[in-house]
């Protein structure tokens, strides 16, 4: 039986996803796992490049259970507030999902603090709102950390030097759009994003904000296709997180002699001579032999970048 490299890597990613789904505390776990197994079997029987839309959907539906607690020093009420539990989408951004959290804790903090910006902290580290939630969890949650993810909520002493303020969702929108355009510069010299209309941009943003897969992908599909007669993107948009920041570099999806490059190739180009680097994304460690073009098309975040965290 012949397995194309793409097929093998999809297979491997599927298996990892199975682990990921099991790992998530979610009452839908059984159905999801079943769906993935079913998908995997389908692929096995058809043995051809099937549509990998199921993978996109699994990635889209990835969620994390979070337990928010108000910093003890900020409780101004005689009662301790209950913790607030929320399932948050990995692909989203904290400012888009924490309205309810703010509302829940607001009545427990001193009045003069209520107008101040809320910020989040995990293990002494303030959370950067401009990173997708999944990226923050891949960066900050260690292998021994248990879920739910325990996040502390603050209303005072905003850590100005470490985190930018996020005073509106529109700010996240403009940041998100800038990332999307940058990714398109790498993939298609910016031609697809710039030829889109304002309503397409809105649809992408609203799709993400309202967690509507079909709405988002109806437009994102155009950004995620190799343009014209090309089979590949020009370069792969990625950010590789290391040492409190991230690295970007021009990496092509194919080599000069027309071979498909893999995740291994990307990491070797980024960290020459360092063979043992592994990266995590969406809570899993993708197989090193996964082709870059496939990885970019299927495991990119909504901002069209691959976010790879060195582990």
């Amino acid at each position: 039986m012949y397995y194309s490299p793409t097929y093998v890597s999809c297979h491997a990613v599927c298996l990892r996803l199975l682990h990921l789904t099991d790992f998530i505390v979610n009452n839908k776990t059984t159905t999801k796992t079943f769906k993935l197994r079913h998908f995997f079997q389908l692929k096995k029987s058809s043995n051809e490049m099937a549509n990998d839309r199921e993978i996109l959907r699994e990635i889209w539906e990835g969620k994390l259970p979070v337990c928010f607690r108000l910093d003890k020093d900020e409780v101004a009420d005689f009662r301790e507030p209950d913790p607030f539990y929320l399932m948050v989408p990995r692909l989203s951004y904290f400012p888009l999902v924490i309205d309810k959290v703010r509302k829940h804790f607001l009545k427990f903090v001193a009045n003069e603090k209520a107008e101040q910006e809320m910020w989040l902290e995990y293990n002494g580290q303030p959370l950067k709102w401009q990173y997708p939630i999944g990226v923050l969890s891949d960066l900050l949650l260690g292998p021994d950390d248990l879920l739910p993810w325990n996040i502390t909520v603050h209303f005072s002493k905003f850590p100005e030097s470490e985190v930018y303020r996020f005073d509106s969702k529109e700010m996240v929108e403009s940041y998100f759009m800038a990332c999307l355009k940058e990714a398109d510069v790498l993939k298609h010299r910016g031609q697809i994003a710039s030829s889109m209309q304002k309503k397409d941009h809105n649809q992408l943003w609203l799709g993400l904000q309202n967690e509507k897969f079909d709405q988002f992908w109806a437009v994102n599909r155009k950004l995620m296709e190799a343009s014209g007669d090309q089979d590949y993107f020009k370069y792969i948009p990625f950010r590789c997180y290391i040492d409190d920041g991230y690295r970007q570099k021009l990496v092509k999806p194919i080599s000069d002699d027309n071979h498909k490059k893999t995740l291994q190739d990307l990491l070797e180009e980024l960290f020459p001579g360092n063979k043992n680097i592994k990266v995590k994304t969406h809570g899993m460690i993708p197989p090193m032999e996964t082709p870059l073009q496939w990885l970019s098309e299927h495991l990119s975040y909504p901002d069209n970048f691959l976010h790879l965290c060195v582990v």
């Binding site: 030097s161 930018y164 303020r165 403009s174 510069v185 304002k198 409190d244 920041g245 690295r247 570099k249």
Partner: protein, 124 residues
């Protein structure tokens, strides 16, 4: 423009994004022995932005875009409440926490990173 209000909201948001407080000192000082890599940047005005007499600058590659925005604002003697936008490839506004090295590695031409600056939002 049928959706002007939306545009305005996003623009205002971008304004505040660009004018956020930023850390101005270099972040990584872990290796003082290591001589810092420097890169050439070319600052070009667009729209109504004033011209800088000196266009070509050499900066530490670990400097953040937010630092460059503050630098240009100071050089042009802009009021603290005035905005300044930077663009790469005349296409996208890099994040204030992006480091120059990444942009240089991806978008430089002929050994220089060209950054357009303007006082109003220019490209999307």
């Amino acid at each position: 423009m049928s959706e002007e209000t939306q545009e305005t909201v996003v623009q205002e948001a971008t304004d505040s994004l660009q004018s956020m407080n930023i850390r101005t000192e270099p972040v990584d000082s872990s290796d003082p022995e290591h001589t810092k890599q420097k890169v050439d940047i070319l600052l070009k005005p667009t729209g109504n932005a004033p011209i800088m007499k000196k266009k070509k600058w050499t900066v530490d590659s670990d400097k953040k875009i937010g630092w460059i925005i503050e630098f240009v604002k100071k050089y042009l003697k802009l009021e603290p409440n005035e905005k300044l936008f930077l663009y790469v490839n005349q296409t996208f506004a890099p994040s204030p926490d992006q480091v120059v090295k990444n942009l240089y590695d991806c978008y430089s031409t002929e050994g220089k990173l060209v950054l357009h600056y303007c006082k109003t939002q220019a490209w999307g």
